[in-house]
Symmetry: C5
Subunit: 365 residues, 5 copies
């Protein structure tokens, strides 16, 4: 049901399709696994020190090479990865390993971190909640953290990173006074903070369903619960490996991370754990709700069937009785009796009464 | 169904709502994630040595700075965290890291421990059982343990900590002769001891349901069992991480903890394990009860349906038979026979008898 | 359903009740969590070397202090822990830590081991099977192993330990020639050996149920299976942590354990694993039996319902047909036909036959 | 249903019975836990070097002591462990620890390995498949590996070991040129190879059931699937611990194992893993088949019930209608109408047709 | 249903059959466990340096020995392993351990890696998707990586390896300039890349089923879902151990692997993890779909039964009523009343209306 990649061209949900085009090619050949389209690629470059800031929007990545020489921290963000030539140029000017270039365009990866000595390569998933369809959309964010620079690659222009840009511009928070790894942290933190939004919206859906369950739930509720469970499976798949990524960063094994950033990573790690915890709890809660619905529903149906069956059961013997006196035998002495008719009514009422009493005593209704 | 935060303003159960207001802000910006209201903030300060004790209730946290200089151990308890200015002042006078200040007001965290070299920051959850609604209410207790001082922050004024205050006043137990880490231990122990109360009450609910199950359970019992299972999911989420917190404390990795307190922490660890064990056992027991109810219920229904269906099945052929002789054909020889009517009765009784005998032999009832 | 503490006063099954009386008291305050009653406390003291043995039954624990000076190994067994003053005296003369004294009277603990440098404190559960009610009863055995002495505390006088006493008296086995840790091992081994008895009895119950299942199981069997499953949950809770206890002992981390005893501990560890294994297997077997019962039962019911419904289905159209010719219209040409009546019979038989043939071909019965 | 010990006297399946006779005895007292009977004990002794071989069948174990002095490798195999005196003599002449002697006769143990410095004691389970009853029979093989000798103890004479004897006689494979640990390996390998036979036969059963499931499964299939699942539970219990045994051997922690044998142990370890893997896969496959059967069955039943209920539902209103005109009211104008009778038939057919059309459109059949 | 070995002769699915022929033979005896047939064995030999390349197709493996002396890297691929003599000759000329030769012909092994000091032996599974039957076919690829040579053994000629051959011929990618371990990596990478194809096709199946589920699913869908679940069980069994294989290679424990290849292995490891992740997600999704189908189906059936039962329930009392006035008693005053007949109709309509109203208010339809 769920988890489309975000972006203009609708794509298949369980799409490993394009990945399979790659099979047979030598490793390290970048092949676009994602949506290729005509949208222009946006490259935004920000260079800042604690005192100065320079911002530019370029289209020719060749310009980016000279930015690297400048003092301070350079953040290059690439929106749209479908233009492989642009990627190649950036990759060349920052000495990115062919496997990294391949991974950037291969947009259905799980979160991971790889240490290439002079830089770290981090993949995380940006998630968005499509409120109309109650679906979570997923997009890959590739992040390269090197000495004095951060590169980010995403499929579409996202708003999450704008708030960080704004903080850099206005010198809010610590970001201007910290090294490049803090910027990388700030980007990841902003993505993870957004997960809380999604969980919150799913939490609201769960509450709505719960209230419905208390009343008279409709049949459609079943599908809703199943869909949310499905979302949880996919959400978990996207977020679970992130825990290990942050853990590796936090263990300070790379010289890219400075001591001063570690405290913040610990905080990020806590948030990740809290999100995973919440996902697990939601799954348990949804399973419980499913059980409640199914057994409530089954109970309701059973009590309906029981009442209906009892009505039928009471009248069937009575119908037999009146059928008897509908027979046309010549010699049926009861027919001539004056009390025959009232006696049949009496018999009917007595039979029905006895049965009702019996059912009542057996607590069948 | 469950697990509201405690306190006057009713809040949403799965609330990550306010957390999401934060997304986009620089890390370390304290934003109140919890209930903001007009209740005044209570700050109580206790300073004690083995011989002396001084107690004060203040409203201006600026006064707290001079308490720090005094000899002995200082315990500052803040009830109500919605006044961010108060928090900022306390944070500044004790050099609390911005991330800690952020965490204190962010009241939906899982239990955790963080070592900030000069102090330890511990988050645990205080739980209360709302007997009217069979719900567990949860509240965050933040605890800062430094050299010679303990700070505690809670959303509402709680009674649990009063017993410790009383012990300090009356110099009962060891608390007056031990360092600050023992006070921190005593506070955590008191919170964990309270968990036993909650489990006991839930245990009583389980026993009541079990006794009902032995008799003639009503339909509502299903919802009760599911609700208790739901409580268990949320209880487990609140308590499970506590085990790791106590374990970290106990491994004596921080210099904040003295050798003399470790034995007590081992005891606390045992209690935590015992509580988690009990929660798991309750979950298993509740699942078993659910199975018992569902299969008992299904068996009951089936035997009811079987009896009703048999009654119908016996009378339907008989009704057919009497219907035959209710037909108005001119030439029906049986109708004129003197023995026709008794013969039909005999046939009816014989048919019903045969069927009953067959059902009986097949053990259908 | 299950797992009462053994002993005269019947107590609640999920009892954490008394534990909660304790909340708010300073740690290390012994509060009786268990049954307090008027039965006298029995203290039996055995002192032995490889050549000599002295046995005494005392009531005043003050006497016990001088036993400690004697050469050889002293084993003091206390039956009944409800007299706190006795416990305090023994605790004082053997320098037991307040937390140990608290744990001894707190009789609903999980198995654990704690190293207090001069002695080890071990908690294990003695289990008994109440054959009348198919319940497992549980009792706490506290064991203190020090240099040359072993203390045991139990709620009621148990027979398990008598066989060890007998072995000491008659100098059977190795116990008289081994250090005190061997005595502690022997006590634990005797308790664990008794678990096999319980599993054996439960195994018999399972076999009985299995044979019943092969035949014509009654409805009550469901409750029996669920009860045994329930027992298994509680049994597992009592025995699982024991594995870790024996493992810690076996790893020889404490200087209380001598090299010569380690081989025996390995044996004890094997037994514990075997018991846990058996419990797990029983749980799986019971779950399988439950599935067999439920699906067999459901199959039986379905085939019953199918037959009954078919009988009804065949006669309902026939009843309609004869009803047609029971109508009193003036102009019904069939009624006057000489062959009308036989024709209706033929139609009835043909219809019923066709339906039966159809049902038979569709394999509906 | 399953897992009897193999051998003449039928024994209980969940038998921990005899083990419980032991409780109360000092550890290391050999008590026969298994079948005691009058069959004679067979002791076969093979001594071989790379060039010579000597084979003897003895009845008095006293003779075995002098074999130990001879050069080369001695393999003593004892079939039947019910004669405790024989066991005692062998135990004495090879200095077996009392706990080992106890374990040899205690034949319901899980696979394990114990290092007694001068020898290794290994327990594995020999399994056989009783094709008549689809049951797995289990027998304990105790193996003692010392410097230059291997002792094996089994309950009954088994064929598995004959192939090894044959290889020794004919000097096939490497066994004559390798140390005693290779012989021990060869024995274990031969037992594990036999597991593949059992899994193969169970695999055939599964395929047969699967083919049945594709067609028209009978009710008995349910019991068959459950029985195979049951077998899997018990098989897994017997084989799972073997993995750890081989792993310990392979880690070369004992000086009994030579470098040259390690490669072979790695191979044995692979086989064990493969067997465990297959057992797990079979369990999953069987669970899936159970689900397929249950839901197919439930679907079949439902479609049957639906058709039957529809037939009844169509005729019941019709029967009502003809009942109306069977009433004997004096003033029923329709009865006198010439078109009354055809009109009723028309009404009947129209009603039935409408209902059928409605059911058809609703896709009820 | 699934997972046949690929190749001309159809073989049993759960086939451990031939493996059992081996039992009793000394370890290291190569016995063909797989399909033996008359197809000729193809041996292709490629020798290359960064500048030169020589390719040959031979039939006599004796020729292969002199290839080993040449400089550069030699890759010998053997298609068809049923000719044991060929295998023996190759094994001899490359000094393969007897256990390796045995493993090569034993084609139902799980993925594994073994270090024989002078060479590494790796087993992986090549998988293919049989689109007609929705089955995954599995074939074993044995790979021997030595100093300057790579041997591969497969049951049938596969296309996957051709793309690598092509790359070598055309000197595409890095393969010509890297040592032999890179070639081994390239072969494994090519096999793993093919897994994505299979997962993609299964993903398409899942989507198709999902769309069907949204509409009006047929009964056959149940079998389809179960079959895909079954595939997942077997797929997981084939791929799960591969993770450990790649992990061992990546940890660089063998001197066969060069530093330069490790980065690529890390990439391969990521792919393996991603595949396992996807398999797990598919399993969860399929389970969810099964639940949706079953509960939707059950809901549909229930609503059908409810409507049908209600129709029957309404008419049964009415039929009784008209039956009453079909009785032939002489003294039935209503029959003579002029309003009797209309009154009965009124009673009928009133009764039916009341019942419908009651059902409607109770929300029974």
């Amino acid at each position: 049901m769920i988890f489309r990649k975000k972006g203009p061209p609708p794509i298949k949900r369980f799409s490993l399709k394009r990945r399979s085009q790659k099979s047979g090619l030598p490793p390290g050949t970048p092949v676009l696994i994602g949506d290729s389209d005509a949208r222009p690629v946006h490259i935004s470059v920000i260079t800042y020190t604690s005192t100065e800031i320079e911002e530019k929007s370029i289209t020719d990545p060749a310009e980016s090479s000279d930015w690297r020489q400048k003092p301070g921290i350079t953040w290059i963000n690439v929106d749209g990865i479908h233009d492989l030539s642009i990627l190649e140029k950036i990759g060349a000017s920052f000495d990115l390993h062919p496997l990294v270039r391949e991974d950037i365009v291969n947009t259905d990866q799980r979160p991971k971190i790889e240490d290439y000595e002079t830089y770290l390569y981090i993949v995380i998933r940006m998630l968005h909640f499509d409120e109309k369809q109650d679906r979570v959309l997923s997009e890959q964010l590739s992040l390269v953290l090197g000495e004095g620079f951060v590169l980010t690659f995403q499929e579409n222009r996202e708003d999450e990173l704008n708030t960080i840009r704004e903080r850099i511009r206005q010198a809010r928070g610590r970001v201007r006074n910290m090294p490049a790894d803090y910027l990388a942290y700030a980007i990841m933190d902003s993505v993870v903070d957004h997960y809380f939004n999604i969980l919150e919206k799913i939490g609201e859906r769960i509450e709505t369903i719960e209230e419905e369950l208390m009343g008279e739930p409709e049949t459609g509720i079943l599908r809703k619960i199943h869909q949310l469970k499905h979302e949880m499976i996919l959400l978990r798949k996207s977020i679970w490996p992130l825990r290990e990524v942050v853990n590796v960063l936090q263990r300070n094994e790379s010289e890219r991370m400075h001591e001063s950033t570690l405290l913040y990573l610990r905080d990020l790690y806590d948030h990740t754990i809290q999100i995973i915890d919440t996902i697990e709890t939601y799954r348990d809660v949804l399973s419980g709700m499913l059980d409640v619905y199914l057994s409530t529903n089954s109970n309701r149906l059973n009590s309906v069937m029981k009442v209906l069956t009892m009505i039928a059961t009471i009248f069937i013997p009575l119908t037999f009785l009146v059928g008897v006196y509908g027979m046309n035998f010549k010699y049926m002495p009861e027919l001539d009796s004056h009390w025959g008719y009232p006696a049949v009514w009496f018999a009917n009422i007595a039979t029905a009464g006895t049965m009702l009493y019996y059912f009542y005593k057996k607590k069948w209704f």
